[in-house]
């Protein structure tokens, strides 16, 4: 009797686990995916392009330090190798 109960419990837990996993997977598979923000793909109507706003610079993030190569080393930020600044 004890062995039968144990077997039944094993089967019950296994079955519940499989069913719960299947339901969870199905739910996530069919739910709406989070969309990464890709500014170049955003609809223009959703954007506020009517006014200019201040953009925080790296100086402001790093506390008014001059942002040079040494600052990057001190702040443990990887210096981006790709650069843009006008040719």
């Amino acid at each position: 009797m004890h062995k039968l109960t144990k077997t039944f419990l094993h089967l019950y837990i296994s079955l519940i686990s499989v069913v719960a996993f299947t339901f969870g997977w199905a739910f996530l598979a069919h739910s709406q995916k989070p969309t990464p923000l890709v500014p170049s793909q955003m609809e223009i109507s959703t954007l506020n392009q009517s006014a200019l706003e201040p953009i925080p610079s790296l100086n402001q993030y790093l506390g008014q330090r001059a942002v040079s190569e040494s600052t990057f080393k001190n702040a443990s930020i990887a210096t981006p190798r790709l650069r843009t600044g006008g040719s």
């Binding site: 955003m42 223009i44 006014a51 925080p56 790709l82 843009t84 600044g85 006008g86």
Partner: protein, 310 residues
């Protein structure tokens, strides 16, 4: 991430690709070959380039290669979209201002004598015609164009497409005109340093780009002394003279590299009134402008691409 860096087109080329070196190296070689071939075709400083032949043929139909035809088509479209603020036919004004040789040659020669007159500039670029069936271009008589900036964007984008055959994520930068394809594994995007226009070793912001292109135009780069005046290469098509601008530089993001480059120039010349109007009517465009005091401004969406260090 593997990199290939070198000088070409009088600027720095940076090529980045994800993967192991041995599988990417053939892609790097192909990009080098492509850029060298484009440089010989689109340079206005080479007497044997295809662009020089086109400029010599103004007033007549000129049969162009597929690449040059495609580039001229984009030039004419962007000239119209930017209400004439982007205008590569300012070449005579650029030469009048002293930019008649490569920047390396100008810098090594020092100060040049001032010219006694400034010819009025009246753009006739919009009168140009294209014949897609014959791959032919017609520039009105006397019109000459400089493809310098926009060619860099075009080349960066085409080179990235070539490189993408060898990797899932890559980027090509031609003097800061950068095109991205794919996102590096475990990254949210490509980190790009926005340089301080007054000191290229300093960084004003880190941009995190997921795809498309960025390009920056600046009045602080490519400067020279002409007579007693300091000149720069951003010519205002309304005056034919180096533009007096509200901002020192403008960085633009757009789905295409040619658009990013053209809008960066147009917004730098147009300033905030024209800039906000152009940005508002152009899907997918964002920009960050650098004020003379080094502070940054831009439209609301521009904040989303600025990386905030934790």
């Amino acid at each position: 991430m593997e990199y290939d860096e070198y000088m070409a087109m009088n600027t720095t080329i940076q090529v980045a690709a994800e993967g192991d070196r041995s599988s990417i190296q053939p892609g790097f070689e192909r990009v080098r070959h492509f850029i060298a071939e484009c440089e010989s075709r689109f340079s206005r400083f080479r007497q044997d380039s295809e662009l020089t032949s086109l400029n010599r043929s103004s007033g007549k139909w000129f049969t162009a290669s597929a690449g040059l035809f495609d580039l001229i088509q984009e030039v004419l479209d962007l000239h119209q979209i930017t209400n004439g603020l982007f205008d590569p036919s300012i070449l005579p004004s650029l030469m009048q201002a002293g930019y008649d040789r490569s920047m390396d040659e100008i810098r090594s020669s020092g100060t040049m004598p001032a010219m006694n007159f400034t010819p009025p500039f009246q753009s006739r670029l919009a009168e140009s015609k294209l014949d897609p069936e014959k791959s032919a271009v017609y520039l009105p008589s006397g019109v000459q164009i400089d493809l310098g900036g926009i060619a860099k964007g075009w080349i960066a984008e085409k080179a990235t497409h070539l490189l993408s055959e060898y990797t899932s994520a890559c980027a090509v930068s031609a003097g800061g005109d950068i095109f991205f394809q794919g996102t590096p594994v475990w990254e949210h995007g490509w980190n790009v340093a926005l340089e301080d226009p007054y000191n290229e070793n300093d960084v004003l912001a880190i941009l995190q780009i997921q795809n498309g292109a960025v390009a920056t135009s600046s009045t602080a780069k490519r400067r020279w002394v002409h007579g007693d005046q300091v000149m720069h290469h951003i010519i205002d098509p309304h005056t034919g003279n180096p533009a007096e601008t509200e901002w020192v530089s403008v960085c633009v993001g757009a789905p295409k590299a040619t658009a990013a480059e053209a809008f960066a120039t147009a917004l730098l010349i147009g300033g905030s009134p024209a800039g906000t109007k152009l940005a508002a009517k152009t899907p997918g465009l964002w920009f960050i402008a650098v004020n003379p005091d080094g502070s940054l401004c831009g439209t609301e969406i521009s904040k989303e691409v600025v990386y905030e260090p934790v």
